[in-house]
Structure formats: structure tokens, C-alpha cells
């Protein structure tokens, strides 16, 4: 088993190297001069040369590449061209702000998607199923920012239930004493529960936006997957044996578990990119809005750092997913434990019948 996980980690590390190369190449190979972006259109050639030397941009391509690779692997993502603050530190203080709404939002999406998708599959072809399908179509036609605006209009403007989209802390909130630099963590460490509650209250609409937006495709996947399994011979057999509905459901679920988990990781990757939009609508001080700002200003280290962190997070998600799927599936588990190559999943799903 350990050998299996190590082999996965080695592959992930190689992919990480590829990712670093990509984030380097993305910015280095495309046109656009950072020195000009920094100094403005009317910079003198001498100024441009000075800035280039300062940023190390006058070195040959390979030297810059190796230097970048080395620094990145040591965890140094460089300094912002504009503010001069270290990119890695900026990301670490802002990431908790993003996770405060991202993680509950995704959990909400999973709960809603799972419940409604299952319900629709059990009520196949009836009113509940038809309204579920219609609802999913409507939600999936809506871009994320439209959903956010709609929720804001209803819950803030019309019903006055939600706070204004003005960020994570209100002007009345006293920031907690600085320990880690990340406000939500510091608030918990200082035991300021009223502040935590205020942050969560402001996170409510971002959470609901995320939850609804991702519940639609997930629910659709749950419904499609369950429909296929519920008509399968092994479920018919389980029912014929007189198992209780809950047990039948458990068996049906274990058959679609793999594809659902794969879909969850895809959603996680997509949610990271949706963070930029959510944060710009709600003026949320997280990584998404910050990196978008960096991109718009042409702040190269910020762009590279963000692409790298997001890519690495998705990679980690895929590694964990692969390990979990292997561990949960008895057919692949024994092979993985023995350290052999993972076999292809057999074509016929109806093994137990």
C-alpha cells in the first residue's frame, strides 16, 4: 500500500515540475513586457533596462528557468512587482479567507446535489423528477456571477436578510490580535466567537452561491449514475432478497461512488477558478480577487504564484482521489496492497449478480 501511495506521489511530483514549467512559460513566452507594464508607456529605455536587471529579466532564458524552478521548489514565489510583498506570504494569509466560504459552499453543493439527485432518480419520470431536471437546466444556464447578483438582489436588496457585499469584516468589527496573519484563524485562536459569527454571516451568500451553482451539475451526475445502477440486475437481486430500501440504496451508491468522487474533484478545481468571480462580486479579501487584481495589473510573480498554487491544489486533490478510490474498491485494493499495477476495471459491472 505504502509503495502504491509513493508511486502516486512520485507521479504527482513530476506533474508539479510540469506545472512550474507551465507557469514559467505562460508568462515568459507570451508577448507583453513587465517593465513597460510597471513603468507605463512613456518609460525611457534606460529605465526599462534598469528594471529588467533588477528583476533578473535580462538573463538568458535557461538561466531564468532554472533559477525559477529552484526558488519555487524552495517555496519562494518571488515578490510582487508592485507592492514588493512576498507572494507566498500573501497567498498564505488570504487562502483561509477563501476557504471560509469555499469549503462550506462545496459541502452544501454535495449535500443538495446528493439529496435532490437521489430523490429525482427514485421518482424517475414523475413530477419531482421533471421539476428537478428543469431546475438543473435553469441553474446550469446561469453563469456564477448572475446567480450571485440574483441572490444579492433577493436577500440583501429586497428581503434585507443578508449583509451588504462589502467584504469579510464590517467597519465595526475589531480585527483579532495578529498571530498567523489570517483573520479567520486568528479570530478562532483569540476565542472571539462573535467575530467568527460575523464572518460566517457575511460568508452566507457566497456559500449559498457556491452551493447552488455546483449542486446542479453534481445532482445531475448523481441522478444519471443512480438511474443506471437502479435498473441493474444486482439491484434487482438485492430487492428480490428483501433487503430494506436503505440497504439497497447503500449498495447502489457503492457502485457509483468512484465516478461521483471523480466529479467532486473536478468541481473542486472548478470552484477555485470560480473564487475569483465570487470574490469580485462580494469584495471578499481572498486569493481569487487578489490574483485577479495582479493579473489585471500584469504583476507576473502574482500570476505565476496563483497558477501554481491552484494547479498544485488540484493535483493534490487528484492524488487523494486516486488513493481513496483504490482503497475503497476491494478489487483494486488487494492489488495495490501487493504493490502490483492497478488493473483496469472489468467491463461488466454486474459482478455480484
Amino acid at each position: 500500500m505504502i509503495r502504491y501511495i509513493i508511486s502516486r506521489l512520485v507521479i504527482a511530483f513530476l506533474l508539479l515540475l510540469g506545472l512550474i514549467t507551465l507557469s514559467f512559460g505562460l508568462v515568459s513566452l507570451l508577448p507583453g513586457d513587465p517593465a513597460v507594464a510597471l513603468l507605463g508607456e512613456y518609460a525611457t529605455p534606460a529605465d526599462v533596462a534598469r528594471i529588467n536587471a533588477q528583476l533578473g529579466l535580462d538573463l538568458p532564458f535557461w538561466e531564468r528557468y532554472l533559477d525559477y524552478m529552484g526558488r519555487t521548489l524552495r517555496g519562494d514565489l518571488g515578490q510582487s512587482f508592485f507592492t514588493g510583498s512576498p507572494v507566498a506570504a500573501e497567498i498564505w494569509t488570504r487562502l483561509p479567507n477563501t476557504l471560509v466560504y469555499l469549503v462550506p459552499g462545496l459541502i452544501l453543493a454535495l449535500v443538495i446535489g446528493m439529496a435532490s439527485g437521489t430523490f429525482a432518480a427514485y421518482k424517475y419520470g414523475r413530477f419531482a423528477d421533471k421539476s428537478f431536471t428543469a431546475g438543473v437546466s435553469v441553474l446550469m444556464a446561469m453563469p456564477e456571477f448572475v446567480l450571485a447578483l440574483l441572490l444579492l438582489f433577493i436577500f440583501y436588496q429586497q428581503l434585507h436578510l443578508a449583509p451588504a457585499p462589502l467584504g469579510m469584516l464590517s467597519s465595526a468589527d475589531i480585527p483579532p490580535p495578529k498571530v498567523t496573519g489570517a483573520v479567520p484563524i486568528d479570530a478562532v485562536l483569540a476565542g472571539k466567537w462573535d467575530l467568527v459569527a460575523s464572518i460566517l454571516g457575511r460568508a452566507a451568500l457566497p456559500i449559498i452561491t457556491m452551493g447552488l451553482f455546483f449542486a446542479a451539475p453534481f445532482g445531475k451526475t448523481v441522478r444519471t449514475g443512480l438511474l443506471q445502477v437502479l435498473n441493474s440486475p444486482q439491484i434487482e437481486f438485492a430487492r428480490a432478497c428483501g433487503l430494506r430500501p436503505a440497504q439497497v440504496y447503500r449498495y447502489a451508491l457503492s457502485d457509483v461512488r468512484g465516478s461521483l468522487m471523480t466529479y467532486m474533484v473536478l468541481l473542486f478545481a472548478a470552484s477555485l477558478s470560480g473564487a475569483a468571480i465570487i470574490e469580485s462580486v462580494f469584495s471578499w479579501p481572498g486569493v481569487g480577487g487578489w490574483s485577479l487584481d495582479g493579473v489585471l495589473k500584469g504583476d507576473v510573480p502574482v500570476i505565476q504564484g496563483f497558477v501554481l498554487i491552484m494547479g498544485a491544489t488540484s493535483l493534490l486533490g487528484y492524488v487523494i482521489l486516486d488513493a481513496l478510490i483504490t482503497l475503497l474498491d476491494p478489487r483494486t485494493r488487494s492489488n495495490a496492497v501487493a504493490g502490483r499495477k492497478r488493473p483496469q476495471r472489468p467491463e461488466t459491472a454486474a459482478v455480484s449478480a
Partner: protein
């Protein structure tokens, strides 16, 4: 989406009418107001008989701007879809075997792991930020879908008798790919292209909403929604609501038409 049952013909006809009609209306209809001229005397007016959709914070007519935006949004979405088709389909048709094909598919997989909006924003900013750059960025994001789809079609049709026959009589690989495989798989490609045009509209609007790829005062739906956001928060809903409604109408129409095409393909296949 695998819709069960038949899609309603009235709904489909309505959706098709929207897709064909809206660009025509935007091109032909004389606009009641200049979409680019701010009027300081009429700022933030609610919809009335003179300004059908009201006016925005700069006193520009929302109705005129919503139609004017269609002239920019729809061609960009169409061009991006066309470009990703042109790039993705041939790549997918020929990536069925060999090392290069395998490598291509790994790259396509890697695309799924990247934050898409960020990639689009980065490439648009680095390329300069015009309408053509938006087309390129959306095409880069959408092309992998066509690669995957046409590759799947090529792999499944490769073992069919008529492809075998075409190869046996000495057709060139290009002719086999386009004349035999693509012609028997164009339905799914067409469905995917329609869905891609719909999601491209949403992505373009999201980018413009974030302030990427817009040239003010030229209106786009995303930029108009972004401008109307602060009015919406104050309760003046019209400046954001009408461009949103126009965009959602087109996206929903494209999705409905895609569903109808898919239904038709299924019926034809079942009849065989």
C-alpha cells in the same frame, strides 16, 4: 443532457427564433437612442415609454445598449466556437493512436485541472485585451472538449465495417477521417458546438464582468451587468436585469436547441 421523452416543438421553435431573430433585430432595428451617448439629464431613470429598459448611471439608454451589445457578444461567441471546432476536431480525429496522440490526450486532461477563468484572464491580459484575444482565450478553453469528443467518435467508428472498407479501397487517412468518420459523428459534434456557444456566451460575460477584454464605452452584456451592479444594490434593478435577461435568453435558447438536436439523433438511431 440526455432528456427523456421528446422536446417540445413549440419551445424549440421559440428558441430557434430567438437565436436567429435577436442578431437580425440588433442589426436592422433603428435604435431609439444612441447607445454610446451619455445624457446627464436622464440618469438612472426607471423603464418608461421613452426609455423602454430605463437608463443607466451615465444616462445611457439600456434598451439601445442591450441590443448594441448583442452585435459584439454574439459574433465573439460564434467565432470562439468556430475556432475551437476547427482546432479541436481535426486534433481529436487524428489523435487516436501513437505516442503523439497519447501525449495530446494527457495535455487535454491537464487542462481540466487548471483554473479556467484564470487562464483565460491571464492570456487575454498578456495578449493585449481586445475582442480577438477574447475569441482566442475562449477557444483555448473550449477546444479540449472537441478533441475529446471527436477522438471518442473516431475510436468507436474505427472498427466499423464502412471505415474498414474505406481503408481497404485505399482512401487516404484524411479522407477517412473527414468523409467517413466525421460525417457519421457530426451530430454529436453539432450538439457540443451549440452547448459550447452557450457556455462561451456565459464565459465572455464573466470575463467582461471582471473588466477583462472590454473597451468602454462599447457595451457588452457582461460589462453592462458590471456597471448596473451598484444600481442593483440600491434597488434600481433595470440596468443590470435587462442585459442579464437578454444573455440568459440566448444561452437557454442554445441549450434548448442542443437538446432538440440530441433528441432527434436518438430517435433516428433508435429507428435504425
Amino acid at each position: 443532457m440526455r432528456a427523456h421523452g421528446r422536446s417540445s416543438p413549440i419551445l424549440t421553435a421559440f428558441a430557434a427564433a430567438v437565436i436567429i431573430g435577436l442578431p437580425l433585430v440588433a442589426l436592422v432595428l433603428p435604435l431609439p437612442h444612441d447607445p454610446l451617448r451619455p445624457d446627464p439629464d436622464s440618469i438612472g431613470i426607471a423603464p418608461n415609454l421613452s426609455h423602454w429598459f430605463g437608463t443607466d448611471e451615465n444616462g445611457m439608454d439600456v434598451f439601445a445598449r442591450t441590443l448594441e451589445a448583442a452585435k459584439l457578444d454574439l459574433p465573439i461567441a460564434l467565432a470562439a466556437t468556430g475556432l475551437s471546432l476547427l482546432v479541436g476536431v481535426p486534433l481529436g480525429l487524428f489523435a487516436t493512436s501513437g505516442r503523439a496522440g497519447e501525449a495530446l490526450m494527457r495535455i487535454v486532461d491537464a487542462f481540466a485541472a487548471l483554473p479556467i477563468i484564470v487562464i483565460a484572464v491571464v492570456s487575454i491580459q498578456l495578449m493585449g485585451g481586445g475582442a480577438t484575444d477574447v475569441v482566442l482565450a475562449i477557444a483555448i478553453v473550449a477546444a479540449p472538449r472537441f478533441v475529446r469528443l471527436s477522438r471518442a467518435a473516431a475510436v468507436s467508428l474505427r472498427s466499423s465495417r464502412y471505415v474498414e472498407a474505406a481503408v481497404a479501397i485505399g482512401c487516404s487517412p484524411v479522407r477517412v477521417a473527414f468523409n467517413h468518420i466525421l460525417r457519421n459523428a457530426y451530430g454529436v459534434v453539432l450538439v457540443q458546438a451549440t452547448l459550447t456557444a452557450a457556455s462561451a456566451l456565459g464565459a465572455i460575460a464573466a470575463l467582461n464582468f471582471l473588466g477583462v477584454g472590454v473597451r468602454p464605452p462599447q457595451p457588452t452584456w457582461g460589462a453592462m451587468i458590471s456597471d448596473g451592479f451598484s444600481m442593483l444594490i440600491r434597488g434600481e434593478w433595470w440596468a443590470a436585469a435587462f442585459p442579464t435577461a437578454a444573455m440568459l435568453l440566448v444561452i437557454a435558447s442554445l441549450n434548448i436547441v442542443a437538446g432538440a438536436i440530441e433528441n432527434r439523433i436518438e430517435r433516428v438511431e433508435r429507428a435504425r
